[in-house]
């Protein structure tokens, strides 16, 4: 562990201590606070078990019909990631085949592949998302993945494809473990999400 990490841990401990102190102070104040549903009168504990509706992207939503009222909300996991039966990621580019190491300039062959892809793809719009493996710093990888995604988006736009978002997640959303060379190669990627 480096000094920096140690300092950060000490800082966290200090923040936690302050937080606990505040919590004990607010604990006395909390007597005056109310719960969300305290004044609502009719407290019900009615069973509301939903079923699942699958949207045209293949993702699930909770849905209930209460007679006259209908309710619906996306089914996500606790991290906020939608639960989907199939993905709408329609292309995953292994960046080794499109960029030199540490570069975000497309190779001539890579550029031609992308031109062909976006000319034949029929989707109404696209989201481009860049990723790296876990080597180099987090900050460096965030920038590199974003720059690579932008390079892909520029080619797409040049042949008339509609790009609605471009993002770089660096090394933060690996597809597989970075423990092996093969795993790292799989994580070096740019994803093309097709929006119908």
């Amino acid at each position: 562990m480096g000094n920096h990490a140690k300092n950060a841990r000490h800082a966290n401990a200090a923040v936690l201590a302050v937080g606990l102190a505040l919590a004990s102070v607010s604990g006395t104040v909390a007597l005056a606070q109310e719960n969300l549903f305290d004044n609502d009168g009719a407290t019900t504990n009615e069973r509301y078990a939903p079923t699942i509706w699958v949207d045209p992207d293949g993702c699930e939503h909770w849905v209930m019909d209460d007679g006259f009222e209908g309710y619906m909300s996306p089914h996500t996991n606790r991290q906020g990631i939608p639960v989907c039966n199939r993905g709408n990621v329609c292309g995953v580019m292994n960046t080794d085949q499109y960029f030199a190491t540490n570069s975000y300039r497309l190779t001539a062959g890579g550029k031609q592949n992308l031109v062909n892809f976006f000319r034949t793809a029929k989707s109404r719009a696209y989201i481009i998302v860049g990723h790296t493996d876990s080597r180099a710093s987090d900050e460096y990888n965030m920038t590199l993945s974003y720059n690579r995604a932008n390079s892909v988006a520029a080619v797409a736009a040049s042949v008339g494809a509609k790009i609605i978002d471009v993002r770089g997640y660096g090394e933060r959303v690996p597809k597989v473990s970075n423990a092996s060379a093969g795993g790292m190669a799989k994580n070096r990627r740019v994803e093309i999400i097709c929006i119908r």
Binding site: W53, G67, P82, N88, I127
Partner: protein
């Protein structure tokens, strides 16, 4: 007279319950529309409503019930696909409804 009125009001309530309320069935199973053409809620067709920020939501007009739920990409971010201008709805979102609903 009052007795007749009471009877007819009860009759209407019973009728409404029969059409949409399911005579208490809804209380136990909220996964089915017990309306004029009973169907499981998983079989509904959606359109897209574009919110004032330009982002997509799935919209379904199922007769008496309306449903709205956010369209999310695989990372959980809103999809803002310019399917139409903000504050409009596009697509076949009224195809499941069997009740005339001019709104």
């Amino acid at each position: 007279m009052t007795f007749v009125k009471t009877i007819s009001v009860l009759g209407i309530v019973a009728l409404l319950a029969g059409c949409e309320g399911g005579g208490g069935l809804v209380n136990t199973d909220k996964t089915i529309d017990y309306g004029f053409r009973s169907h499981h809620l998983s079989n509904m067709t959606a359109g897209i409503w574009i919110d004032p920020n330009g982002c997509d939501h799935w919209i379904i007009d199922d007769g008496y019930e309306g449903y709205l739920s956010q369209r999310l990409d695989p990372y959980g971010k809103p999809v803002c696909s310019e399917a139409g201008p903000p504050n409009t709805a596009v697509g076949p979102y009224k195809t499941t409804q069997t009740v005339s609903d001019t709104l």
